[in-house]
């Protein structure tokens, strides 16, 4: 009988050990999940260091995930690199890419909707925790495909010292198109050493244009991304206004204005007002040698600005473990705390109300109220131009804008051509 008890005990013990090994084994025998992500930078500042820092913190908290974050250039480069990597032997699992790349990525069958990745109720609620306006460019067909990360609106930076010198009230930024033109006339010096306004027309001209059209109460495309409104009367009027700033009102240089050098131009005092991404805010703050202010863009029929920037996307070619890991990373990078840090370091917006409720961002905003301009403008914001065949459609609009600004075509002519091109490209999607 002792034998059988021994046997049973041994059996039980063995079973217990096996169970312990079986449950304990995954923790020790589990391989590290490797994640590769591409990300772009389109504004100034040592942002690669900031991202590297955030990623390092994430890896410390999650020792079983190894992240390699690769700086890919601008938004175009990031998309090109990420998609190219997908068809090569070493794909990325997730990336930050233009919020408006959505349709292209769906058409390439490259990304997976977040609704298909989240499982718990907690996660489902997390999907809804971001500012709705920021989600507009990431949602289509009732599903969420992109999570906001480095998001912005256009804001108006203005040189308060220059305002004072011209006899304008430095605390009252122009609030309407007419006010901006009047202020511009007073600020423009006849010797050309200082212009009133500069709106960049290289880099992302369609983005700046999206603000002007929104202010004229006109959107540029339909929510389904299959039709554009480039030749609507309000659109033509907006382009005419942009062109007149240089050609008629003489408060802006004629021709195209370079995106990359605009910030430097502002800091050197070549222009008193500049329209630029809020993502430049911290760099401007650090480098300005004069008193400057930031305000919402002026209104025509209403206030308006497009949102801009990059979202996180998860690629389809991923294993379930990789998706779980990617979700962790995305949640980390967009958590209220991190979003607050990111916003302070760059000027990009906090992506959720919770981010602005964190003590550090609340304090920052109290000491530097301009950090909240982009957030406050969200109320009046609209989605950025995004359609199928988005690269070509955007280029058609960019070319039209540049043609009108350089005077080689009239705004009406240029926009009608752009609309024709867009119609031709989008025909099959309607």
């Amino acid at each position: 009988m002792l034998n059988s008890i021994k046997k049973t005990l041994t059996g039980v013990a063995t079973a217990a050990c096996m169970t312990a090994l079986a449950t304990g084994a995954p923790a020790t025998a589990q391989a590290k999940t490797d994640l590769t992500m591409y990300y772009p930078i389109a504004v100034g500042g040592p942002l690669t260091t900031v991202i590297d820092g955030m990623v390092a913190d994430f890896m410390k908290e999650n020792p079983d995930i190894n992240v390699s974050a690769i700086y890919a250039g601008n938004y175009n480069d990031a998309r090109v690199k990420a998609l190219a990597a997908l068809s090569s032997g070493s794909p990325a699992q997730l990336s930050v890419m233009f919020s408006i790349d959505l349709y292209e990525l769906i058409e390439q069958d490259a990304i997976v909707a977040f609704d298909d990745v989240v499982t718990t109720d907690e996660d489902k609620a997390w999907l809804k925790s971001f500012y709705p306006t920021l989600m507009e460019n990431g949602v289509t067909g009732g599903k969420t495909w992109g999570i906001p990360f480095q998001r912005s609106t256009i804001v108006m930076y203005y040189n308060k010292d220059a305002f004072r010198a011209a006899g304008l009230d430095p605390d009252k930024a122009p609030a309407t198109w007419d006010e901006m033109v009047d202020a511009g006339k007073k600020l423009t010096k006849s010797d050309g050493s200082q212009w009133g306004v500069m709106i960049p027309s290289t880099g992302y001209p369609y983005w700046m244009f999206g603000a002007l059209t929104m202010q004229n109460n006109q959107v540029l495309m339909n929510p389904a991304g299959s039709k554009t409104h480039f030749d609507a009367p309000a659109t033509i009027e907006a382009l005419q206004f942009w062109k007149d700033l240089g050609a008629k009102d003489k408060i802006m240089p004629e021709g195209t204005i370079e995106w990359g050098t605009l910030r430097q131009n502002f800091l050197e005092g070549k222009t008193a007002i500049m329209w630029h991404s809020t993502g430049n805010l911290t760099t401007v703050k650090k480098s300005a040698t004069f008193d400057f202010g930031v305000a919402m863009l002026p209104a025509k029929q209403r206030l308006g600005t497009p949102t801009g920037g990059g979202n996180f996307y998860i690629f389809k070619k991923t294993t379930p473990e990789e998706r779980t890991a990617a979700m962790k990373l995305i949640k980390f990078m967009t958590s209220p705390d991190r979003s607050a840090d990111w916003s302070i370091e760059t000027g990009y917006m906090g992506v959720s109300q919770a981010a602005y409720d964190t003590p550090k961002l609340q304090e920052y905003v109290k000491g530097f109220p301009y950090a909240a301009v982009a957030r406050d403008q969200l109320e009046f914001a609209t989605a950025e131009l995004s359609t199928y065949q988005t690269g070509r459609v955007r280029k058609a609009l960019d070319d039209a804008i540049q043609a009108a600004l350089t005077g080689s075509k009239s705004p009406e002519e240029a926009l009608k051509e752009a609309q024709e091109t867009a119609d031709r490209l989008l025909k099959t999607y309607q």
């Binding site: 090109v80 058409e107 290289t202 050098t261 690269g391 070319d399 540049q402």
Partner: protein, 294 residues
């Protein structure tokens, strides 16, 4: 196994050639054929796979206003850079060929732009051309001339790029002319001087014809470069404004890598290949007849 020396000769020859042949076929000949075939298919996406469409892409290309703009740009670019850089190269070579105080320095100054990558050249000249804060506008301001948005004005952007390219290329061509000049016996010049020929006469009737082989070589190089050289567009204008500075190879790159339209890119490439082939044939047959070989 015994093979006759004759057969071994062929075997040996081809064996030696094998590594080169594999690589050349893989990266030159096969892609050429593949490109032509690809141009006959429609753009494929995950949702709508690619299908054979015959010459439809070529029709699209013919109707594409950007394509024609790009083609004209390439032509103007070639016309602007090639004759001027060759002329400058000859002048430089003539200047440097004589005993000149500080000759080494002068020669180095002319040649240095060549060892710089085009992307670095573009970065440097980007600053020169920047409106208002750029160097050229600054210098112009000293003289009271108003500044200009050189790269943002469709009328000046191509000339601006041409000037920059001439700066880079002239020194490179100078070297070949220098080599050729050093092979010309000095007795020719003595003879000409004794007969009272002016320097210009000597140049026009004796020197220049003797330099024809070099000119042909340089011309081929220059034409090839004018199609291949698009690095600067990435930094300067990205083809803008409104495609005023867009070039064929850059448009091919955009189509393939920005719009993911590899079949349209293939169509454009076929055209580029055709142009290169025509140019090669033209140069070898036409100019060959007129060269004076010694």
């Amino acid at each position: 196994m015994y093979l006759s020396p004759n057969v071994m000769r062929h075997v040996h020859g081809w064996l030696l050639l094998t590594p080169a042949v594999i690589l050349l076929v893989a990266f030159t000949h096969y892609p050429t054929v593949a490109t032509v075939i690809n141009s006959l298919y429609s753009k494929g996406t995950a949702i709508r796979p690619s299908r054979f469409v015959g010459l439809a892409n070529y029709e699209l290309m013919a109707e594409d206003p950007i394509f024609w703009k790009v083609l004209f740009n390439n032509m103007w670019f070639a016309l602007g850079t090639i004759p001027t850089s060759i002329a400058l190269a000859i002048v430089m070579a003539l200047l440097v060929n004589r005993a000149l105080p500080g000759r080494s320095f002068v020669r180095m100054a002319y040649f240095t732009p060549t060892v710089l990558p085009m992307i670095a050249v573009a970065n440097i000249w980007l600053f020169f051309y920047s409106p208002d804060i750029g160097l050229i506008d600054n210098i112009a301001a000293w003289f009271g001339i108003p500044g200009h948005n050189w790269l943002g004005d469709p009328n000046t952007v191509l000339p601006a790029i041409i000037v920059m390219t001439i700066w880079k290329e002239a020194g490179f061509f100078m070297i070949f002319y220098l080599a050729a000049l050093q092979h010309i016996p000095p007795e020719l010049r003595e003879a000409a001087r004794l007969e009272g020929a002016s320097r210009w006469y000597f140049f026009r009737r004796v020197l220049f014809p003797l330099l024809m082989p070099t000119t042909l070589f340089v011309l081929i190089n220059a034409v090839l470069n004018s199609f291949k050289l698009v690095d600067h567009l990435f930094v300067l204008t990205k083809g803008g404004p409104d495609n005023a500075s867009n070039l064929l190879l850059y448009y091919i790159f955009e189509s393939a890598f920005s719009y993911f339209d590899t079949t349209y890119a293939a169509t454009l490439t076929v055209l580029l290949l055709a142009l290169l082939a025509v140019m090669a044939l033209a140069q070898f047959f036409l100019l060959d007849r007129r060269i004076h070989y010694r």
